[in-house]
Each structure stands twice: as C-alpha cells, then as structure tokens.
C-alpha cells in the first residue's frame, strides 16, 4: 500500500512537472521553443509551469495532491493515518482536476453560475495532453492505495488499483459518452433541453410505419431492423447447427476444412460478402448479365434491399453461430445420451428427446447473437440496403446527411441501444440459468453417439451447398479485384492492386497506403492495451471479491451490447470538447477500438480463467504471494495462450471494424475499412477488393503465426487432468476466441 502510494505520487508529480499539460497537436517531441522556455509556455508548459508562470491557479491540485501523497508515503505514519492522506490527496486532487476541466472550457467559464461565483474568467482551456491525463490517472492510483490501506479490497493495493482504474476507464470511455448521447435525445434542434423532443422524434412515422404491409413502398426502420435481425438470427442458428452437428457428430472427413470456415468472419470485414453479392447479382453482376444476355430476363435491382442484406448477413454471420454451437455440441455430456440408449431409446428418440432439448439454451444464445450482430452491422446495409433502411444506416445518415440532425441520431441510437440491450439481457438470463452441461460430479468418459441417419442427411443437404456457396462468394468477390472492370471486361489484371499499393521512386504513391498504414498502426497500438485490460479485468472479476464487483463487471459487459454505430455517435458527441478533446485524433480511434473490443478480450480471459482452478492462486496466497504476485507468477503464465489469442483477436477486430469508426475518422486518420466502403459506394469495386484482399492476407498471416505460437504452448491448464476417451479429431476451442 505504501509502495503503491509512493510510486503513484512520484509519477503524478513528475507528470505535473515535466509533461505538457495541454494537448499539443504537433506532439511533445516537437516543442518549437528552445531551451527551457517551454516549461512556462501557455501551450506547451507542464502543470507546474501553468500554475507558476501562467497563473492558472486552478491547476494547483496537480502539484499539491502528489506532494501530500509523497509526504505521507515518506513520513513515519501509522498505516491508517497514511491511508487517510492517500485517500484525501488522491480523491480530492482527482475530483478538483476533473471539476476545473469541465468548469473552464474554450470560452472561459462553461456555465454562467460559475462566473457569478468566481468572477470573470479571461483564460480559456483546450483539451488535456499527456500531463493533464497522466496526473489524474496517477492520482486515481493514489486513491486506490488509500482505499486498500483502509482495508477495502482485502487490503491489497494491486487489486484496488486495478479495480479503480477499470472503473474510471469504463466511466470515461463508455458510460459518459452514452449518458451524453442520451441527453442529446432530449434536446431540441437548438440544443435546449426539451423532454418533448424525444417523444416527437420517437413518434416519427419513419421509425414505426407499417405501411409496407398495406402496399406502401417501405416500412419503418425499426420494423426493418427487427425483421432483418430475426431472420438473420434464425437463419444463422439453423445453418450453424447443421454445421456444428456435422463437424462434431457427423463422422465426416470434412471436419477440419469446415472448421476453417470459422476463421473467415474473423478476418473479413463483414461487408465483403455484400460486395461479393453485388458482383454476382448486382446490375453488372455475372448472374444478372448472364440472365439478360442468355434469357433476356432483366433481374434488375432486387439484390438492393432486404434480400441482399439478408443474404449477405447470413453468409457473414453463419460462421459465428457455427463457432458458438460447436462449443455447445461439444459440451454435451455424452453420458446423458448413452444413458438414453441403455434405456432403449433409438438414436432418433435420443436425438429428439435428449440431444435437442439440451441444446436449446445454446440455440437461443446463438439466435440472440445473430440478432445482435445483424442489428449492429453497418457495412452490409450501407452497401446493399438501397431503399431498405435499418437503424444503423439511418443513424449514419442522420449524422452525415444533409440534415445533420444530432437529436435524431441520438434518438435512433437510443432505440437501437434499447433493442440491443434487450437482446443482451435475454441472453444473460439464458446463460445465467445454470447450464445443463456441467451437472454431476466426477464425469464419466463416454462416446458421443453418431447422428441419426435422417438428421445427418438433412444436415449434409443444408450445410454442404451453403459451405460451397460461401466459398464461391469469397472466390468471386476476391477475383473481382483482379479483372479490368467487373461485368464489362474480365481481362485479368493487377491494375487495381498497383493503383492501391504502388511504390514509385521510393515513395508510397498507391492510393491505399495511407489508410492501410494508419489501420495497422492504430490496431497495433490498441491490441496490447485491449489484451492487457481484458486479462487484468478478467482476473479482477473472477478472482477477487469486493463491494461493487458485480456492478462493474456488468458495466464492462454491457459495452459489448452497444452497437458500434451508437458508440461512434456517442464518442463523436463526448470527445468533441475540452477537457477530453480527442475528436480528429488517432487517440479517439484507439480508445474506440479498445473499449469496443474489451468485452471480447474479457470474455475469453474469463473463460480461460475458469479453466484455472482457483486453488492455484490460493496456494500462492498461503505461500506468501499477495494479489500482484499471484497474478504475475501464477495466473499470467498460465494464461499465456489466452493472452496471445486476445492480442491477435483485438488486432484483427480493430482491422475489420467499420461501424463505430466511420464517424470518427478524418482525412488524416482514414482507416482501410472506411476507404473500402467509400470505394464501394462510388462503384470502384476493383480498388476496394484489392485493398480488402491485402487486409485479409495480412490477418491470415497474423492468425497463422499466433496459432503456431499458441499451439506449441498448450500446457496443462488443470492441475489434475482426468483421463477420458475423447472422440478422435475433436480439439477443444476454435481457431481463436
């Protein structure tokens, strides 16, 4: 506790003395002032300089709080007294710094009553920089050390620090943006609070109209979204189940290749499938062209709308349902089915009365997952939606469209958020109900029965053509990048590739270089942060006990349910103004990547943690290792495969995401996915595909490398491994995740 207090105070003090307090758009290294002059500069100076030379007295806590913490750590005080000092210095310092940040903005006082209270303010503040971010962060740690010293978190400073930091991070990067967005929904066009604004927007006919049933051209976007979600959920679940049954129980030789299907959605931006569909069924798609030239039938634009989006999403998300259901089917205890067969049930009876009912919670889970994925998908509807609007795209148009109606965007986001959360809660209730899988104490080793012949035939009839179609779609989509002009001139060419990635005279002159490099850089920055945060919070949530843990875990998981579009709009709203003026920087994109992907890392971390018997860290505790030691020496080494997987997954997801970041990119920070979507919208398919191919290749290489590394380090994860007879060829876990 003392050490944590000492180091955090020192860090805060150093940051206040040395790091530029405000955001410098040129970066810290490029301080244009010679010598030590920057120390007192109003733009580049650190906290100390701002207080002493610029008279910005409100930054005084940045100096005083760490000083008090340092003194308390160094002076020979009794533990409770020291803890009180840490608590006060950390808490008050942090509180005052936050308060001043919001009180004094670009136009002086941010609210009239402040001026009335403190007198006029000549000065103005822009967003905080390294110093302004580091000092409060270090003060939070000081505060945590104080909490631990008071006996919270079982007196363990490490646990306290982790918990406080995660809580703050969630508050700043998830809760605050959403709350602000929610507030916007209640504002009228002028920005004033008006409760009625929300209701009038909610009552908008464009949302709820059921006119299409009565022959009108279209229905409300809410109905569209729900219909699409339900169809995609049901479709992907059925297809995924067929695949999963075949792979786990079908006694097929195709098990391994089919498993590769699960890798596809991980490495592909989802809208690539939409693009593939356009290349086949679009106006200049090969099928459309063939139909008109051979049969004289004009297929027209039918693919643009519900059919197209539905097809694209089915193709895109079936592998995800497959991945989920493989786990569910493998998790079925074969003993239950063996018991059924000794009770004279035929294989069909067993399948109908035991296997399927046991799969039910897993099926419901897969359905909800498909539903949520469909709702959150932005890429396919924007590419293929045409007149068929869904919430994700409507929000986009409300932000970037001609009207630029922030209130409408907020309201639509609210509706989408409510639907996503509803699905999330349903899913949680399903999974919270004790799963059927782990009943009984010591397990029997049993053999899973083969599928009944009829079921197997049905699965084959559904799955194999679908797998073939998926592969064909990918092949076609990719080959579109290597012909002159799709639909008109199918001469093979590397023209698009060269246009995108040309290097001439040592310069990267290709059009896509900029966006690809930005994407890789930002993904590479965000991946380690995401993985580390995910693992640390997984440890916190599964291994420590403290008041409010449940709430914190819930809040973290909740982020997962928030559709990317909503996050994008919310970030745009929240980080546009000081003190956290991140809009337009790479930092906002990194933050978005990290907090979008954190729940995924957290989940896989928790799953990995569940494999590690808690007595392993308890043993470390009884041998004298505190929280940090148990984490560092026992948990981390055991989690190495999970960390590796988390790292790769965070990286890959960052590379393929589109929905959230499309709101956050600028010309400087254009990402590859955004680049591709823009090309698709402009009809420049060749270029779009060329870039997508490079992205996919890059990610497959990453995954392959990770698989190699992780595969070698598959050390026993349980202390005592029960010997069991496993059906051959079934390895636990998919590729990653």
């Amino acid at each position: 506790m003392r050490a944590a207090g000492l180091w955090s105070s020192l860090l805060a003090l150093a940051a206040a003395l040395l790091l530029p307090w405000y955001l410098t758009h040129d970066g810290i290294a490029a301080a244009p002032l010679a010598g030590l002059a920057w120390l007192s500069d109003p733009d580049f100076g650190p906290g100390a300089g701002q207080v002493l030379a610029q008279g910005r007295w409100w930054l005084l806590p940045a100096l005083l709080a760490p000083a008090i913490g340092l003194l308390a750590a160094l002076l020979p005080l009794p533990r409770p007294a020291r803890a009180w000092f840490f608590l006060l210095a950390g808490g008050l310092g942090l509180g005052l710094l936050v308060a001043q940040g919001y009180a004094i903005g670009v136009q002086g006082w941010s609210a009239p009553w402040l001026e009335a209270l403190f007198g006029p303010m000549e000065d103005r503040q822009f967003g905080v920089g390294w110093g302004g971010a580091m000092v409060p962060a270090a003060l939070a740690v000081l505060f945590a050390a104080g909490l631990a010293g008071r006996g919270a978190f079982r007196g363990d400073a490490f646990t306290a620090t982790v918990a406080v930091c995660i809580a703050l991070a969630i508050a700043v990067f998830t809760a605050m943006p959403l709350v602000l967005l929610l507030g916007d929904a209640f504002r009228d066009a002028g920005g004033a609070l008006a409760a009625g604004a929300l209701f009038s927007r909610l009552a908008d006919d464009r949302l709820w109209s059921l006119g299409c049933l009565a022959g009108a051209p279209r229905c409300g976007v809410v109905w569209n979204t729900l219909l699409l979600g339900a169809l995609v959920g049901a479709g992907t679940t059925a297809l995924g189940l067929a695949f999963a049954l075949l792979v786990v129980r079908g006694r097929l030789r195709l098990g391994r290749p089919l498993r590769w299907l699960t890798v596809l959605p991980i490495v592909t931006p989802p809208f690539i499938l939409g693009l593939g569909l356009i290349l086949i069924f679009g106006r200049s798609g090969i099928v459309s062209l063939a139909a008109s030239s051979w049969f004289g039938v004009e297929l027209g634009r039918w693919i643009y709308g519900l059919p197209g989006v539905l097809l694209a999403q089915l193709f895109a998300f079936t592998p995800i349902a497959f991945l989920v259901l493989i786990g569910v089917v493998e998790g079925l205890s074969p003993t239950l089915e063996e018991a059924s067969s000794t009770l004279r049930a035929t294989p069909r009876d067993t399948f109908r009365t035991v296997t399927l009912p046991l799969l039910r919670p897993g099926l419901a889970n897969a359905f909800l997952l498909g539903f949520v994925e469909s709702m959150a998908d932005f890429g396919n509807p924007i590419v293929l939606g045409g007149q068929f609007g869904v919430l994700a795209t409507e929000i986009f148009f409300a932000v970037v469209g001609a009207q630029a109606d922030a209130g409408r965007a907020a309201t639509l986001s609210l509706v989408l958020l409510a639907m996503a959360l509803g699905a999330f809660f349903l899913q949680r209730r399903l999974t919270a109900r004790k799963s059927y899988v782990s009943i009984g104490g010591k397990g029997d080793a049993g053999l899973a029965p083969p599928l009944p012949a009829g079921v197997r035939r049905l699965c084959l009839a559904v799955a194999l053509p679908w797998a073939g179609l998926t592969v064909a779609l990918y092949v076609l989509a990719i080959s579109g990048g290597f012909v002159e002009i799709w639909g008109r001139d199918h001469t093979p060419t590397l023209r698009h590739m060269i246009k995108a990635f040309e290097i001439s005279g040592g310069q990267l002159t290709g059009l896509a270089w900029n966006s690809v490099i930005t994407t890789v850089t930002l993904a590479a920055i965000s991946a380690p942060i995401t993985a580390a945060l995910g693992i640390v919070s997984a440890w916190l949530f599964s291994r420590t006990r403290f008041a409010g843990r449940g709430a914190l875990e819930f809040a973290t998981m909740l982020t997962f349910a928030v559709p990317g579009t909503v996050i994008g709009v919310a970030y745009l709203r929240a980080f546009n103004l000081p003190p956290l003026e991140l809009a337009g920087t790479g930092a906002i994109i990194v933050a978005c990547f990290v907090f979008r992907n954190l729940p995924v890392g957290l989940r896989s971390g928790m799953a990995a943690m569940a494999q590690i018997d808690p007595s392993l860290d308890e043993a470390s505790h009884t041998l004298g290792g505190g929280g940090a030691d148990a984490f560092r020496r026992v948990v981390l080494p055991l989690l190495r495969p999970a960390i590796m997987a988390g790292l790769v997954y965070a990286f890959v997801r960052a590379m393929t995401t589109i929905s959230a970041v499309i709101f956050l990119v600028t010309a400087d920070t254009e990402l590859a996915t955004v680049f591709i979507v823009n090309r698709v919208i402009n009809g420049d398919y060749g270029l779009a595909i060329a870039v997508a191919v490079v992205l996919i290749a890059l990610m497959i290489v990453m995954l392959g490398l990770a698989q190699l590394i992780v595969g070698r380090r598959r050390i026993g994860r349980r202390a005592a491994v029960a010997p069991s007879i496993q059906p051959p060829g079934v390895q636990p876990g998919g590729a990653v995740a």
């Binding site: 007595s615 392993l616 043993a619 004298g624 202390a719």
Partner: protein, 363 residues
Amino acid sequence: MSELLAREPAGIRVEGVDLSYGATRVLKDVNLEIRPGEFFAFLGPSGCGKTTLLRLIAGFNAAQRGRVLVGGKDVSALPPWKRDVGMVFQSYALWPHMTVRRNVAFGLEERRLPRAEIATRVEAALRLVGLDGMGDRRPAQLSGGQQQRVALARTVAVRPQVLLLDEPLSNLDARLRVQVRRELRDLQQSLRLTTVFVTHDQEEANTVCDRIAVMNEGAVQQVGTPMELYDHPANLFVAGFLGTANIVPGTVLREGGAAAFEVAGGTRIPLPPGLAVPEGARLMFRPQDVSLLPPGSDPAGRRLIEGEVAHREFLGASMRYGVRVGGAEVLVDVPHTGGEGHLQVGGRAALALDATRVKLLAG
C-alpha cells in the same frame, strides 16, 4: 530435515466465529482450541462447514463475528499471504507451468530468502517426501500420489506456523489413501508441526489425528481424542458418525437403585449403575458389543433377545449381521474366523448384549 522443523509449534484458537453466506449460516458460534504441535481433524459430512472453517483459518473467508488466533496473534484481519499458514489443497493446486523444484521454491522466493538457502530447503523438502531426483519434472508427469507429496513439500518448505490439509487424500484411490495417511502422520510427527486435517472419513481422522472436532450443520458437536469420541460420544450424531452405532428408542425405568431401559415390545435392558440419563434418551451400543449365539441357552447366563438374520455383509476381518428384532434391526459384528459356521440370512439367532457397554444419548 532439521532445516524444515517447525520453528516453534503454534496453537490455533477460534473464538465465537459466526459466518453466513447470505441467509445461510455456515458456521455457528464455533469455538476451538488447537494445541501447538497437535494433529487435529475437522470431521463431518459434506456441507457441515469444515472446509469453510479451514479456509477461515487460512484467510480465504471472513467471519461476520468472532476471531481467529494463530500462535496467540489475532490474524482475523490479515489476508492469507500475511498469515504464515501453509495449506495443502484437495486438488493439490500444483502450478502446471513450473517444475517440481520451482513449485517448492515458490514460497521461499516470496520470502526473499537467499538463493543458497532456497536451494538447500527445496532439496530437504523433496527428500523429506521421498521425491529427491524428481525436481525437474513437471506436475503433469507425476502420479497422483507424487503430486500430493509435491504439494506437501511445497507447503512445509516455508516452515509455516501451522499446516492446513483440505481433504488431501480424497483424490487418491482407496489403497494409496491408507499408505499416504500413514506417511502424513509420520511427517507431522517428525516436523512437530501443528496440523489441521479436514475429512469426511472417520477412519482417516481416527488413524492420523490426536484430536478430532466432529462438526455438523455448522456447529462443533464434540471435541476429543478418537477413543473418547468413540467410547463416549456426546450425542447421537457423533455416535453415528464415528463408527457404526445401534440406536434404540425406548424409555428409562427406575426400580429402586437399579435402572433399566425398556424398548418397544417390553424387553428390558439393565443399565450400568451411575449412567447419566438425559431427557428423551435413546440407547446406543456398538455392533461389537453384541454377541450372536444360536437360539436357546446362554452359557454365561446373560439375557438373550431372539431375532431373525435379515442380511449380512462381509467386511473382511468380520461379518456384519443385521438381525431383525421386533420392528428394529440390530447390527452385530462377529469376527471372521474363516471357514463356515456362519448364520444364514433368514435363520434365527440370539443376541447377547454386553450391558456394561451401553450408553444413553440425547437425540
């Protein structure tokens, strides 16, 4: 081995501990005194709170009320890593990513001991459990019994004040269990280490422990040496949990100075003089306190009760008969002397009860 002797055996005191999870009271006003150097058992059926109590001493659980003292020092507020308490887990909890030697060295490294001392103590600990030469193996390469010994070596290497064992034998098969429990006892004796052993198996507790606390439903039922508990159980639960007991309902009759116990059907069993008679008492006696005779006369002139053999179980060293007398069934152990001459199921037999061995117990 002298490197591993307990510095000075410490006692453990548990004072007025109450512990609840939500509405469930897991420990109810538990008071215990475990003497320095003693081998002590918490014995009880699953769910009786014995493991919770052990984990309370280790520091993994916190009580709502009461305190825990180790070596006279109140440790209630300390986290496990500040308690100097060694624990062997039911699953052994060996770290699969470390070699045996690294596992054993862990606690010593946490204590920032000099390298050389760590090395000597690790070797001493491995020698102690008979695993010298296995230091470079990984836990996965060891058998269950060997893993168990590594867990033990890892714990005693740090010379804890007290050693806690959480059902350490339950993952071993029946044969190995008997062997390991003897080794445990030897080890404890040679290190003079205060040891607490959690088990649901009375035979295990009897063979290795100096004293036993019998627990049920979160409360300590009785504390004593194995013999005290067996011969003078405080209540029916203890009588039934330690060994097999015949428990017979009935009423106590007094005629002059002598007391007798009348069971249903009118049979009277004379009670030894000076036996305390609690309220609502039932008669308790052990299967070996009864002898089984052919129906008819008794050479010693004892009172005989006749019944029918309802079932029998071969226990190896003895044969256990269930004899139906009236509505009740009396269990009788007869030493197995080989050959035949056994009573058959369905046959009649006479029971001769050694009246000096009976007890009256409150329900």
